[in-house]
């Protein structure tokens, strides 16, 4: 049953959040333990340092649970708007909130011409959606509906809570690892001189090496897990968005329009990129879903949507936006009525 899968998915998301948080806490603890031991050379010092690392992670998680959304919104330069500022946007969000059966979220505008959007919050009762003024301008009503259906699926499925918590936890691992690596870089010389006097012993060197390896690997591992889960969620949000609107065309067209726009979003950064509708930091390679990207390639997403509605796959987002393009390509005409896309359409030129 279709509804059962949604509830399954929401349940899985809540479980994943807890599981991932645990993994991250364990990683944090391991980092704290080895760093404390390695830096002081005392095994006993590992106990408080482990405690401190875990405490910092947990406090960060609690803060992000309650204050993360407003932080993300203010970092992104989002301004809350009322129904009179953008009546159509408000109407569309309200429609999709009805369809997803969640309360009306708060609506924010990011004053940036790059087209993008995101949803955040700790649960559907405390959710916000933000959209850039560029996206609002470029999309028609149907496309806007597709994007908002995607965002409200994130809200309903509790993806927003997951992203918020994970972002902060992964961030704190990175911070701790970074801190330690810097410390060894700066303090390494002094330590070299000291070790002659104290004769630190082979054990400390081993712990030190383990700490360095862990400090390098832990953030990468944490981020890998985060990215993999994030990509999966984007596909799911696309599919459940279409289940809400019963209209894949709007979302397909919106994705095509957004991916053809190569302007990067200035207010997005590594910490917030996974929240967005489409990856705001357009890397040099946009072709395939690689290991470290937060979002699947837009063309993949478009083709999965087309598959859902039994349409044939496209190789170029222009085909979604302009049927003449596809027709011309089929006829093999030398001069289609619209300019053909360059072969590297999704690379910024």
């Amino acid at each position: 049953m279709a509804t059962a899968t949604f509830y399954d998915q929401i349940g899985a998301n809540k479980r994943n959040s807890v599981l991932l948080a645990l993994v991250v806490v364990v990683l944090l603890g391991a980092l704290g333990l080895t760093i404390g031991w390695a830096v002081t050379g005392e095994r006993a010092a590992a106990i408080p340092s482990t405690g401190i690392a875990i405490a910092v992670g947990l406090i960060a998680a609690v803060f992000s649970y309650f204050g993360g959304a407003s932080l993300v919104l203010s970092v992104s330069g989002a301004k809350e708007i009322g129904p009179q500022d953008a009546p159509q946007l408000f109407n569309v969000v309200s429609e999709m909130a009805t369809a997803a059966n969640v309360p009306m979220p708060r609506v924010y505008i990011i004053d940036d011409t790059a087209p993008n959007a995101f949803a955040t919050g700790r649960d559907p009762q405390h959710a916000s959606v933000a959209i850039t003024s560029g996206l609002l301008q470029k999309l028609d009503r149907e496309e806007l509906q597709g994007v908002m259906a995607h965002e409200l699926s994130h809200v309903r499925n509790f993806d927003i809570r997951f992203s918020l918590m994970v972002g902060v936890l992964v961030g704190s691992i990175a911070l701790l690892a970074d801190f330690f690596l810097r410390f060894t870089f700066w303090g390494g010389g002094r330590r070299g001189r000291d070790s002659n006097d104290s004769g630190g012993g082979g054990l400390q060197i081993i712990v030190f090496v383990v700490a360095i390896v862990l400090a390098i690997l832990a953030p990468i591992m944490a981020r890998l897990v985060q990215m993999a889960v994030s990509r999966q969620r984007e596909y799911l949000a696309d599919a459940s968005g279409v289940e809400l609107t019963r209209n894949p065309v709007g979302l397909e067209r919106a994705l095509a329009k957004i991916t053809l726009d190569t302007e990067p979003l200035e207010v997005a950064n590594r910490a917030t990129q996974h929240l967005y509708f489409e990856n705001p930091i357009k890397a040099a390679t946009g072709q395939s879903s690689n290991l470290f990207s937060t979002h699947p390639a837009a063309l993949d997403r478009i083709n999965r949507l087309r598959q859902l509605s039994g349409q044939s796959a496209v190789t170029d987002p222009h085909e979604v936006l302009d049927p003449r393009f596809a027709a011309a390509a089929l006829r093999g005409a030398a001069t289609p009525s619209v300019p053909p896309a360059p072969p590297g359409w999704n690379r910024p030129s």
Binding site: T3, P87, A99, L244
Partner: protein, 187 residues
């Protein structure tokens, strides 16, 4: 000893039945809540239409028959409000059709299309119509959930005795209106 076992079994059965009963009641209440959501939007649409007719009718040569149809369809829809979900859905669908043809005609009048007031009303009616169809999806999902619950084991064993009757969907399937089985026991 036997008495204790018998009493324990009876208590357990009573608890299970109570749990199922509570589940059915909350499902039934969800239907009423969902129906309420639709009603709010339908009412809103009924209230918006006179404004639209007013805004459009001043334009020279505007097809009066289209306006009359919309006004009539609206009156029928308002009247159908008390006739149960199936009849109501039918009347509302007619109204949707009449509104569509009105907006199709508006397309032929560039002045009218550019009129700020008409544009605003068109957006309001579009969103209301979407709200209606999304609330309807939600309503039908809650009805399906409830109907499934009362027609399957274990609830089917006593749902009838406890007064749980099948609810109808909010849509205008012609087959559905042929055999009117309207539950007037709403709420």
């Amino acid at each position: 000893m036997e008495l204790i076992v018998v009493i324990a079994i009876i208590v357990i059965i009573a608890l299970v039945v109570a749990g199922i009963y509570n589940g059915l009641v909350s499902r039934r209440n969800r239907i009423d809540e969902a129906l309420g959501q639709i009603e709010v939007q339908l009412k809103r649409r009924h209230d918006l239409i006179p404004n639209l007719v007013e805004a459009v009718k001043g334009y020279m040569g505007f097809e009066q028959s289209v306006l009359t149809k919309v006004t009539e369809a609206r009156a029928n829809a308002v009247a159908a409000g008390a006739q149960g979900p199936a009849a109501q859905a039918q009347a509302e669908n007619n109204l949707t059709g009449a509104l569509r043809s009105l907006f199709a005609v508006v397309e032929n009048y560039p002045d009218l299309k550019a009129n700020q007031n008409v544009m605003q009303l068109q957006e309001e009616l579009t969103t209301t119509e979407n709200q209606i169809s999304f609330s309807r999806q939600h309503y039908n999902a809650t009805v399906l959930d409830y109907n499934n619950a009362i027609q399957t084991i274990p609830a089917v064993l006593f749902a009838g005795i406890l007064g749980f009757v099948k609810r109808e969907f909010f849509d205008a399937e012609p087959e559905a209106t042929e055999v009117p089985k309207v539950d007037l026991n709403l709420g």
